[in-house]
Symmetry: C2
Subunit: 190 residues, 2 copies
DNA sequence: ACCTGAACACCGTTCAAGT
DNA sequence: ACCTGAACACCGTTCAAGT
């Protein structure tokens, strides 16, 4: 007679994400994850192909969390000015990186060996950004603008997480300043 | 009687860098490195505190290589227009990333656990960028401009290395386009 | 003074044996 | 059908013993 399942893939992925935050990626050990979900390491292989697969699932879960957090910025009802919503969106992205740096890194700076997140998931997650960008610069240049903004924002945040801003200065202000500059630069795109 | 040394720290670091490129960071194993320099793994601990230390040394060596490659773009004799030299500098950075993606990642997206490169080394390496930025936007805003450019360029390259540009489009053109836009945005900074 | 084999604790992963 | 202990190959690292 089959025993009731003692865990689930979702629980395992959540445990992995918790461990990324508390102990870093190196702390995401099969046995550490197993212990967290109340099972022995070999049992994990019933729900997950191997550790790389688990890490990828964790990255995708983190991306989904981020997407949920960001989704409503596409809605013009929030604020009539797209530049305003874009600023809020960027601030949310940065807040996510500060709240959950391990998860953020998994999404935007994955270790080379795990082949990162499914590009389709990425595309879905960036739909709100694309929508706002389209409002800002027109459909024609929306993709280009969204890419430029994403490159800058993720680059900035990566530097911040890596501690490259020790020279002082108000990092919050620098972020807003750079964003304003970029929006200005992209706007007269026609 | 002391035997002549069979290897050196420099040789060990070079072996680690070669392995990063050929086998990825996970392939940089103490015994793989040892084999490459013709010694057994325990001997490495005479020149290097532990694996993390070796990885950090490798990152610093990669940064030095990059700095050397980029240094002469600060010289106005190369081209009178700073925007022109900036474009060349950015192109060099991107070329480095394509030639040696493993080394590039070590410098700009290091695994969280190795605490990255010494900030001082980073500052020295970015001196040429700062000089060109100062020419472009004035001493006052040079640091801000350099940071914005670095954030965008490293973000763009990270996306490129991660394969986030599958939607097609000419990536070379996108890079130049974005850079031009940024330079335009930063220039009227006074 | 450097180098080594042996040893230790710890990984990821497989698999036969349990329920 | 899920779970487990035992086992395997492989890590990083230490250390006593060699030269």
């Amino acid at each position: 007679m089959p025993t009731p399942d003692r865990t689930s893939q979702a629980e395992i992925v959540a445990a992995a994400l918790a461990l990324v935050e508390s102990d870093g990626l190196a702390g995401v050990t099969m046995s550490a994850v197993a212990q967290r979900v109340g099972v022995r390491a070999p049992s994990l292989y019933k729900r997950v192909r191997d550790r790389d697969h688990l890490i990828r699932l964790a990255a995708e879960s983190a991306l989904a969390d981020l997407a949920a957090r960001i989704a409503d910025h596409a809605d013009p009802a929030r604020h009539p000015d797209p530049a305003e919503r874009l600023t809020a969106l960027a601030a949310d992205l940065r807040a996510f990186a500060r709240d959950r740096p391990g998860s953020y890194r998994l999404v935007f700076a994955p270790p080379a060996e795990i082949a990162g997140v499914d590009p389709g998931a990425f595309a879905r997650a960036s739909a709100p950004l694309l929508a706002v960008a389209a409002e800002l610069v027109g459909e024609e240049d929306a993709l280009e603008a969204a890419r430029t903004l994403t490159a800058w924002a993720t680059g900035f945040i990566a530097m911040e997480l890596a501690g490259s801003f020790q020279l002082g200065g108000d990092v919050d202000r620098a972020f807003k300043y750079g964003l304003t500059r970029l929006v200005t630069a992209l706007r007269p795109a026609s």
